[in-house]
Symmetry: C2
Subunit: 326 residues, 2 copies
DNA sequence: GCGGCGCGAGAGAGCGCTCTCTGGGACAGG
DNA sequence: CCTGTCCCAGAGAGCGCTCTCTCGCGCCGC
């Protein structure tokens, strides 16, 4: 029940604490027989290194933070599990902890002080409010940060994103190939890069599309579709900039007597779980969220191990997943 | 850019390190003028306590773990955000970190060693495999643990749950009050307490219900409903033991030409986001997930601060949310 | 007036680990 | 055989903090 320290392991193995430490940390240059003795002592005593003590001298917390928007914005967000899982995949084998922080009053400040006092080695910022000053402060302080998604204003910060424009263009081509005559789009919020890019990418492919605005939420999808069929009843193909909005929009079409995809073809964006809970299941643009999250973790770890490394952002290519809706 | 230590704060304030420490930790018995001087020194130097150093001597990590099933089981699980948010609400103001761990090979062992080496003060276990030996080991080792949901076999462990039986009974009463004549239920997995209790509670209210088994997943809801309408076409009311299954089951009814709720009334369980993405929106039994999560955090913190305290589990009461499906 | 008591501040000993620096042994070259 | 070199183990100094213990001072009681 008593705590075992390195000192004790060393004593049992008949070596010095320094040598025991070398074995624990896999350092080179330890005589094979001594290494063996230490390893035996470790397992016989059930030794576990005290992370706080190590952290005190190495000045590494071996923990990174994941800053998320609060529950309301996150609720029903089907990405959370994938993001966590992707980050976990790269971070776990290294024994690094993933600390979750949901935005609330003072969260970002807390994250900053955790970072500065060495409690966190770096942070991943998800869905950051474009007006948020924190990312800027962090990079100004030279602290390791990675953004999920391109920042609204260009800034020297590492981010990981999917090629939103290309994805939206794929959706446009899909609808055109279905011989739709009257094509529309329900957009995301135009004060976010994702919202802007998806609209721009789509319009590049379908310049004469009818544009109705939404904000990525289900409810906004409902409202937008109601407006759309009111102002443009002959619509027969819609690119909806998030699966969640599509999920809200499709029942509106059904209620109006239109069949999906026979009367109106629908293409979504995200390939989130909402794509499968829609009826019919959504044809959608897939973002490899989990892989992107893993890449964010990798980028962050690189920044941590080699500070003052140049910012390198990576952009993933989306793909079209064809299902039943269009 | 240089790190500020307590030593330095003390020097600036013209007091000893001990006194500065007393001020930082809000200890009593510090002369008002000195306290003031220290506080000024803290803000002028921008001092932040080094958590590792503190943790080394207090033997507290000020971090708790949240052990989750892996992505596959979690995907589309609408609870994750609520759980995290509930725990965060309790834990954040105390400066305690929430460390997320998704189950993978060796996760639980890692959590155990984190706990034993003082890197984590306690853990919350979610969706634990009934056969998992870890919870037992943890309580045997006297380490703070709280379970989400009653354990399958009774064991002396603190858990937080909703009254599943009562919730299922509410669903039964609802269907009866709708004058359904032929009532059925699609169950959850019968090797989990939740699956068992929801079935038992429902049967207590509707003893002659047709029983079809599912496993809480969407796909199992599809399959179960197909079996149900095949074997019992005259069914006009179904209690489906999870919203996710209901979400899969309703389209099956639609495809068979049945209208919900006119031909078949549906009541779900969870009041997760899947309840809103169904069409029509689900009448369902609500579990206050976020509050339950907050309570788990509170129970865990209590166990941490007073070890060897008696196990006290708390059971929340569910409520029926009436929407359009039944 | 002096001893005792209480309260508040300082000194200092760790907490468990890493890592530099030193020392000693083995080997090779002169 | 002696010295220079290299390599590996041990000694020991912290990392920044908390907390006990001690000490000094002011006040009260006798």
């Amino acid at each position: 029940m008593k705590r075992v320290t390195l000192e004790e392991v060393a004593r049992v193995a008949g070596v010095s604490r320094a040598t025991a430490s070398r074995v624990v940390n896999g350092a080179s240059s330890v005589d094979e027989s001594l290494r063996h003795a230490v390893q035996k002592a470790i397992s016989s005593t059930g030794y576990l290194p005290n992370i706080a003590a190590r952290s005190l001298v190495t000045r590494r917390a071996d923990a990174i933070g994941l800053l998320l928007p609060d529950e309301r914005r996150m609720d029903g967000d089907p990405h959370l599990a994938s993001v966590v899982s992707g980050v976990t995949r790269v971070v776990r084998p290294l024994g690094i902890h993933l600390v979750l922080m949901m935005t609330g009053p003072g969260t970002r400040e807390q994250a900053m002080s955790d970072l500065r006092c060495g409690r966190l080695d770096g942070v991943i910022l998800v869905h950051t409010d474009p007006a948020d000053p924190v990312p800027g402060q962090l990079i100004a302080a030279g602290l390791p940060v990675v953004l999920a998604g391109r920042p609204l204003k260009p800034m020297p910060i590492t981010y990981v994103d999917v090629n939103q424009t290309a994805g939206a263009a794929m959706a446009g081509r899909r609808l055109r190939s279905l011989q739709c005559n009257r094509i529309a789009t329900i957009t995301g919020p135009q004060d976010t890069p994702a919202g802007q890019d998806r609209l721009a990418g789509f319009l590049a492919e379908v310049p004469d599309a009818v544009v109705v605005h939404g904000d990525f939420t289900r409810q906004s999808g409902v409202a937008a579709m109601e407006r759309l069929i009111a102002c443009c009843p002959e619509v027969d193909g819609v690119f909806i900039a998030s699966d969640l909005m599509a999920n809200g929009a499709i029942p509106v079409l059904h209620r109006s007597g239109r069949k999906v995809p026979d009367d109106v073809a629908i293409v979504g964006f995200d390939d989130s779980s909402a794509a499968l809970t829609s009826e019919p299941e959504l044809t959608t643009v897939r973002q490899p969220i989990s892989d992107m999250a893993a890449e964010m973790a990798r980028q962050l770890l690189r920044q941590i191990s080699e500070p003052r490394t140049p910012v390198t952002s990576v952009v993933f290519e989306p793909s079209l997943v064809v299902r039943d809706s269009g």
